[in-house]
């Protein structure tokens, strides 16, 4: 399974949740599969999906799911200690780990080599770290939502991208409709 197939499968779960989605093709795929005002698409700033999601989760009570990638987490590795030490039980970090920089031409990441992101997260102090295969993502994500515990999911999948148009929505509109969903 590749990322877009996972997103298609978990779209019904994501639908009712606040979602902060990683820059590039992940956001394009989610936008094409099931655009929702509850989705915050990152159009720039690689690496910050987990930080933005944690910020939203700490500021209010609704559940927040950050959809991140292995490459992006490696870019902002300092995020994992911050998450571990500032527990928000309404926060789920879903790392779609395809072992490659998908948006830039599938160059391999270190997560696809010796580096184990689930072990890194655990070593940083994250308490509920679940590694799963792509096929089980929906089940694991729903269990994390139901647990009311901050959870880091590392979902191992194949690399590859669906072909979708870039997001042309104005960033201020993306931000505004997301904020209205938070307040709703």
């Amino acid at each position: 399974m590749i990322r877009s197939e996972i997103l298609k499968e978990i779209a019904p779960i994501l639908r009712d949740q606040l979602v902060v989605c990683n820059i590039g093709i992940p956001s394009q795929e989610l936008h094409a599969i099931d655009d929702q005002p509850t989705n915050f698409y990152m159009l720039g700033t690689m690496g910050l999906a987990s930080s933005i999601g944690l910020g939203v989760a700490l500021a209010q009570d609704k559940k927040v799911i950050s959809i991140d990638g292995d490459g992006s987490v490696l870019t902002n590795l300092g995020t994992l200690p911050t998450i571990a030490n500032n527990v928000a039980n309404n926060f789920i970090l879903l790392i779609v780990d395809n072992g490659s920089y998908g948006s830039t031409g599938d160059q391999p990441t270190y997560a696809g080599m010796k580096t184990d992101l689930a072990k890194v997260a655990a070593a940083c102090g994250c308490e509920n770290v679940v590694e799963c295969q792509a096929e089980d993502t929906g089940k694991v994500l729903q269990a994390a939502i139901d647990s009311n515990k901050m959870t880091i999911i590392v979902c191992k999948c194949e690399s590859g991208n669906a072909k979708n148009p870039v997001i042309t929505m104005d960033p201020v509109i993306i931000r505004d409709r997301f904020m209205k969903s938070v307040q709703a």
């Binding site: 700033t45 690496g47 910050l48 999906a49 910020g55 939203v56 700490l58």
Partner: protein, 168 residues
Amino acid sequence: MSIDKRIVDDFVANGVEFVTTVPCKQLAGVIEELDQRDDVFHIPSNKEDEGMGLCAGAFMGGKRPAIIMQNTAIGVTINTLATLIQYYRMPLPMLISYRGELREPVACQVEMAVHTKALLAQMNIPTYHFHWQKDVEELDNILKYTFMCNKPVAILTDANFWGGYGDQ
């Protein structure tokens, strides 16, 4: 009243409830003051761009954020300022320790100090420079201005403002 308490009081009076910090010796008192207050959530970050991500999230979650950092962080955060904070039009007061200015003992700090105002100007970031202790009187208006216009705003605070750098 101590300058540290005065600064945190102004943040609180302007509804700032979420503050992230990357430390600097000059900012140690403010950070200590933040930790003692129940009315502000203090979350240390490991790098300033990460901190700006946290602040962007907190803002969208309904809390007024602020970041406290050194001016060297301007070199780290240009992309985040342009493509996150400015692009999505979010307010972000940045209380910045302006190292490498008058009374600075560490020569290398001057190397980023000479670029600091030029970079902020290039980014069209409103910038204020506190050099004398009385300059703090402007902080309340700067915070109101920041949340009025939804922009990142820089408050540069140099060693003279903090009463000299350590034992120098």
